[in-house]
Symmetry: C2
Subunit: 300 residues, 2 copies
């Protein structure tokens, strides 16, 4: 008789994605209450892996925290991620027409609506993080700490700064170290915030946060390398977005700088380092371990 | 011998604007640290009346609060106001080329930079509101209350919702009640948040907040009516932006719906109501009283 798998990631992801989706629906304005409400729902509820909120929940679990205390923050981070996609897809930026298998927000609505919808989701995220209706059993100063961490990660020294640098690098070949720095900001910062805030709200010690931060840095970079690889050889039907766009725009990417084989190796070594950072934790961190492997094996 | 004027608004405004500008400079990323930092500074430090932060400080004063406890919030609200101007000026929205007497952000930089700069200022506002470096002597749960109020005012049911409705109304003649509702969201909500959060942080009682809310509602509407009037008969050199643009876009405005004379009367009656709401307060509310008169007399 075969022994059962150590951790059933598929079932875990489905359960967490469902929990996140339910809470997203509750947090968004009701359908058909206004054009902006419809556009917000359209973009957020279009699907998506929900990687950041799941990481947030898993990080809380790893330190023995309760998901009730984290779900609100997990959802806020997904709203911020979605807003960033809407704005990145705009004609003035990446000019993408397909996202999560559906027309991008400015295609489905119009450009003005897409700009405002992104703005509204970013704003709603902070409204949720400070909501008096949040039933989390977390002291107010810890909630302020979380808001500050999320804003810093999403801001001009984090995600937005990374997107700005990314646009600036189009057509220019940049050094690997610069590419890594850029991705640490563009993708890594919010992934790191998801994990760190999950840990904070879950009651982590500073030593636990230190290890989770190392996990986050590595997982974030591995995620971005695979993203670059999928833009070369991924299946658009599975990805729900176009491929080959990086090359078209002459973007500096890991495959462009290192080739596919070396890029895969680099991603694998990052995942290995992420797993090493988790050696400090017991089996409550199994979900984080499984996600680390998923990040590199994913097809979408 | 003449008696001194009851309240020297000009000196008051200059002092407060200076205080706000100093704190804005401190809160923004340093110049030339990145393209996004430069664009943030360009738009925020382009001047401006600083009406919202001054109202925030004056509301705190009116209830006997200390400006040190409010300045951070006042600055955050000005960042949000500036981001909204940058996004509203974009080609996909109002397509304006002049703001505060200088080329708009997307003209001075480019469209992608302007979108990201707006995003960065909105995000920085919340980072400031939750900053551990804020020396305000205010309990954390009150700070959360302020963050929530600011986000709600700036969001899809407030400022962003108003801008969305404003775009939707272009070319359509809408009813006066609808126009009022639209402006309550687009301009009124953030002005109201500036006053209310100033009061909260200044230690206001709920009765004081109730009166200040009534003041805010009236001042906000009077401000918008005058804005509409200045778009008809104002001096572009003083305003620092183009006039006649509302008519070009066939926007529903107070002058379009009521004519200039009736619009002026309506603004005056709103200011009168605002002043009545202040009868509850002693002379510590003199700055708010003076600002109410300024709102209607202003030329820019």
């Amino acid at each position: 008789m075969e022994s059962p798998p150590l951790f059933d990631l598929k079932t875990y992801l489905q359960a967490k994605q469902e929990q996140v989706n339910d809470e997203l629906v509750r947090s968004l304005p009701p359908a058909e209450s206004s054009r902006i409400a419809d556009a917000m729902r359209y973009s957020v509820l279009a699907g998506g892996k929900r990687l950041r909120p799941v990481l947030c929940l898993a990080a809380a679990e790893a330190v023995g925290g309760r998901s009730e205390d984290v779900i609100n923050t997990a959802v806020a981070i997904e709203l911020i991620h979605t807003y960033s996609l809407i704005h990145d897809d705009l004609p003035a930026m990446d000019d993408d027409v397909l996202r999560r298998g559906k027309p991008t927000c400015h295609v489905a609505y119009d450009e003005a609506t897409a700009i405002l919808t992104g703005d509204a989701l970013l704003t709603l995220a902070f409204q949720l993080l400070a909501s008096p209706e949040d039933t989390a059993d977390v002291p107010s100063d810890k909630r302020l700490q979380v808001i500050h961490a999320v804003a810093a990660a999403a801001g001009h020294k984090g995600m937005i700064g990374g997107q700005m640098a990314d646009i600036g690098s189009e057509g220019n070949r940049i050094a690997l170290s610069r590419l890594e720095q850029l991705h640490m900001m563009k993708t890594g910062a919010l992934i790191n915030a998801a994990i760190t805030t999950g840990a904070i709200l879950g009651g982590a010690t500073s030593e636990q946060i230190r290890h989770l931060h190392k996990y986050a840095q590595n997982i974030g970079l591995a995620f971005q390398i695979i993203d670059d690889i999928l833009n070369v050889e991924g299946d658009p039907a599975l990805l729900g977005k176009a491929v080959g766009t990086d090359e078209e725009k002459k973007k500096s990417t890991y495959p462009a700088l290192l080739g596919l084989v070396e890029s895969r190796k680099l991603a694998a070594s990052r995942v290995k380092e992420a797993l090493q950072a988790l050696e400090y934790f017991d089996k409550k961190a199994d979900s984080l371990r499984a996600i680390a492997k998923y990040v590199i094996d994913r097809k979408r």
